[in-house]
């Protein structure tokens, strides 16, 4: 006999929201964006980005200069596109990623992107109002790849609570509470 408790909700963000969640996702494309193979993905970019912006807890997303998305930015290599966003908390990002029309895009990801050989998505807490740079995001992905999930760089499967209001930014977060 087994009993499964649903995963407990993560700690709610402090009322004044001192921290926000940053997210980087990188993916290696199977073909260039103008290739017919990528046509469905390209067609979904605008509606899915609009969906993200309309989703509860959305704060910010990276876009190329004078563009509507970040697909022109290739900091990880010519075949690699990036998605860098900020959300109110992990739940907001989770709900957008998996409980909206975005899920269908994730479901079909293998037809557009190569199977990642190492961690390709990283989450970390930033002070509210902070806009992360691509360099900063790349460093967090490097941290995750080197050390696995930690309060400095984590994943949906192994989450860490936002830093306490009283903790200095450099202080380590409280005890890890993986939630999945």
């Amino acid at each position: 006999m087994t009993d499964h408790e649903p995963a407990p909700p993560a700690r709610p963000s402090p009322p004044a929201q001192l921290a926000q969640l940053a997210q980087l996702n990188v993916a290696r494309m199977r073909a260039t964006l103008d290739d017919p193979l990528m046509a469905d993905f390209v067609a979904l970019l605008d509606p899915v980005n609009a969906l993200a912006e309309a989703s509860p807890g959305f704060v910010w997303r990276l876009v190329g200069e004078g563009e509507s998305d970040a697909t022109s930015l290739r900091p990880f290599g010519p075949d690699w596109i990036v998605n860098l966003t900020v959300w109110a908390d992990v739940e907001a990002l989770w709900n957008f990623t998996y409980r909206t029309g975005h899920l269908d895009l994730v479901r079909r990801r293998r037809s557009w992107f190569h199977l990642p050989e190492e961690a390709h998505m990283v989450l970390w807490w930033v002070p509210a109002g902070h806009i992360p740079t691509v360099e900063e995001a790349a460093a967090r992905l490097g941290t995750l790849r080197a050390h696995g999930p930690t309060p400095e760089a984590f994943t949906f499967a192994t989450r860490f609570p936002a830093p306490e209001a009283t903790a200095s930014p450099a202080a380590p977060a409280t005890a890890p509470t993986p939630s999945a």
Partner: protein
């Protein structure tokens, strides 16, 4: 090993309690004592007693709310409202642990990038089940709804009968951990069921929302002569509880 699963099932052995649980589940959302008493045709005190037993067993959850809208002294005690508990209970005798097997297999599929193999297998499994359904009789919407009900999807009509939403995700724990994989599997399986059953004018599509299953079944209105949507088939055994 815990005994709470057995306790939960044991609590449902009492027929009135089982009827109340079935009513709260089918109602969806929160139910007051008065509503429940009216639904099952029993005295309110007795119904309150059994609802609280279901809460004790972990099958229902309770919230207290003032429904009168009044505040302060004299405004009355807050009413107890009951809803289905989020907690899962499973009883396997002898002990079985399919959830761990599913999690490990799903993790391996994800690492191997074998999503499409899962989709193909799910589609074929769905087609087999759909063919079994077709062998029982014509694949009418009513027959399909009854099948969905038996499989625990809890179908309800939405959008004025244009689509069927599924209030329960039978793969919930796996879907929480591996959403694209489990929801994609479920979508392909339901597509397979519709195809295997030869159900015309119905299509499964991805339609995730805050709760319930990520898949919706859409009634296509291609044929102007199509009969109007039929009401949901009555649930064959409303009290049937598959806690597994």
């Amino acid at each position: 090993m815990t005994d709470t699963g057995i306790d939960a099932v044991g609590a449902l052995a009492e027929p009135l309690r089982r009827g109340l649980y079935g009513y709260v589940v089918r109602h969806g959302g929160e139910v007051s004592r008065a509503e429940a008493a009216e639904a099952v045709g029993a005295r309110r005190n007795l119904v309150a007693f059994h609802l609280d037993k279901l809460v004790e067993a972990g099958l229902l959850e309770v919230t207290l709310r003032k429904v009168s809208g009044r505040e302060g002294p004299g405004s009355g005690r807050p009413a107890k409202l009951y809803r289905r508990a989020g907690r899962e209970h499973s009883v396997h005798l002898p002990p079985r642990d399919y959830a761990t097997a599913a999690a490990v297999l799903a993790e391996a599929v994800q690492r191997a990038g074998a999503d499409e193999a899962v989709h193909a297998a799910a589609r074929e499994e769905g087609e087999r089940r759909g063919a079994e359904l077709a062998a029982e009789g014509p694949a009418t919407p009513a027959a399909l709804y009854a099948w969905l009900e038996r499989r625990g999807y809890e179908p309800v009509e939405a959008a004025g009968g244009a689509e069927v939403r599924l209030r329960n995700c039978p793969f919930h724990a796996t879907a929480e951990r591996f959403p694209p994989l489990a929801c994609g599997m479920n979508l392909e399986m339901l597509r397979g069921v519709l195809a295997g059953a030869g159900a015309e004018g119905m299509a499964a599509r991805m339609a995730p929302g805050p709760d319930g299953c990520c898949v919706a079944i859409t009634r296509e209105r291609r044929r102007p002569s199509a009969p109007p949507p039929q009401p949901l088939a009555p649930i064959p055994k409303p009290m049937e509880v598959d806690l597994d």
